[in-house]
């Protein structure tokens, strides 16, 4: 872990944090330029022209608006890309999630602001419609913030806790026979957790602790009694299908529906089940 990030070197952590912040900065600078340029154009009626053209320009654009609009619009894409490069998969904020809403809510505010108070006086229905549409486009996606889990993901990042299962090795449950279970249930006391944990400072850190049932040296020296010859295997009775006729028919129908039985096989099996039932 370097600088609070798992599995990443300090240099890479700093680089990603820089990119994430730089991307946000570039996006916001460009959005602010577009926002201010849009207002300056709306101040003069909402339309303008500039550049080399054979036509006579009746309403030239305010100074600097031409390049600021162009740079601003494309710069927002660039800023989002830079920000995406800096996102940490381990967690942290995802600022690009808010880019769409920031764009449409800020420009939508401009439309509403000038729509209710148009430069020529009164209201402008066209701008108001644009304003409501933009605010809806930017605001509806933000409803995901109502979900605490989603809001946490966007602002705080996903939970990526370090896998520490090696500290808690899996212990299968003890296998007991019925007789042993009945005699030991009342007398067994839970073992302390430290009894089965390997010591971290042990000279053999990967050695498993001795299982509780392992034979002591004394008992290990006792020769095992000779095994009696095993009785001949008794053929087990053929398992009978469980369930009622209805359940078996339902099972067959399910198998047919899954494609494991075709129509002929299904009909044969069905008639066999019905025939078996009628014979009993």
């Amino acid at each position: 872990m370097a600088l609070g990030v798992d599995g990443m070197k300090a240099r890479r952590v700093i680089g990603k944090a820089f990119l994430l912040t730089l991307g946000t900065l570039v996006f916001v600078v460009c959005l602010t330029m577009v926002y201010k340029s849009m207002r300056s154009v709306m101040d003069i009626g909402g339309s303008c022209a500039s550049g080399n053209t054979p036509y006579a320009i009746s309403r030239p654009c305010p100074k600097g608006v031409g390049w600021m609009m162009t740079v601003g619009i494309f710069g927002m894409f660039v800023g989002t890309g830079i920000s995406l490069l800096g996102v940490f998969p381990q967690g942290g904020p995802r600022p690009y999630v808010f880019g769409w809403s920031a764009l449409f809510l800020s420009l939508g505010w401009n439309f509403l602001d000038y729509g209710f108070d148009a430069p020529g006086g009164g209201t402008s229905a066209g701008w108001l419609i644009c304003g409501f549409v933009f605010v809806a486009m930017g605001g509806v996606p933000l409803l995901f913030l109502l979900s605490p889990r989603a809001a946490r993901w966007a602002l705080w990042g996903p939970n990526t806790e370090r896998a520490d299962d090696y500290l808690h090795p899996y212990k299968p449950p003890p296998i007991r026979t019925k007789s042993a279970a009945s005699t030991t249930t009342a007398t067994t006391t839970p073992e302390p957790a430290t009894a089965t944990m390997p010591s971290a400072t042990s000279s053999t850190p990967y050695a498993r602790p001795a299982p509780a049932w392992s034979p002591t040296p004394e008992t290990a020296l006792v020769p095992e009694p000779a095994l009696e010859p095993a009785p001949p295997p008794v053929p087990e009775p053929e398992p009978k299908l469980d369930g009622t006729v209805v359940e078996r028919l339902a099972t067959l129908a399910d198998l047919k529906e899954r494609g494991m039985l075709d129509d002929d096989e299904y009909e044969k099996a069905k008639s066999a089940v019905l025939g078996e039932e009628s014979s009993t």
């Binding site: 600088l3 600078v29 602010t32 300056s40 600021m68 990526t160």
Partner: protein, 32 residues
């Protein structure tokens, strides 16, 4: 990723937004 580093990243984003608005206005005023 520690909570402290997440908080630091979040703080950096807030600072970047504030700085971006200020810088955008400065650029606009200088260009217009």
């Amino acid at each position: 990723m520690t909570a402290g580093f997440r908080a630091l990243l979040l703080l950096l984003q807030v600072a970047a937004i504030a700085a971006g608005i200020w810088l955008g206005v400065v650029i606009f005023n200088a260009a217009s």
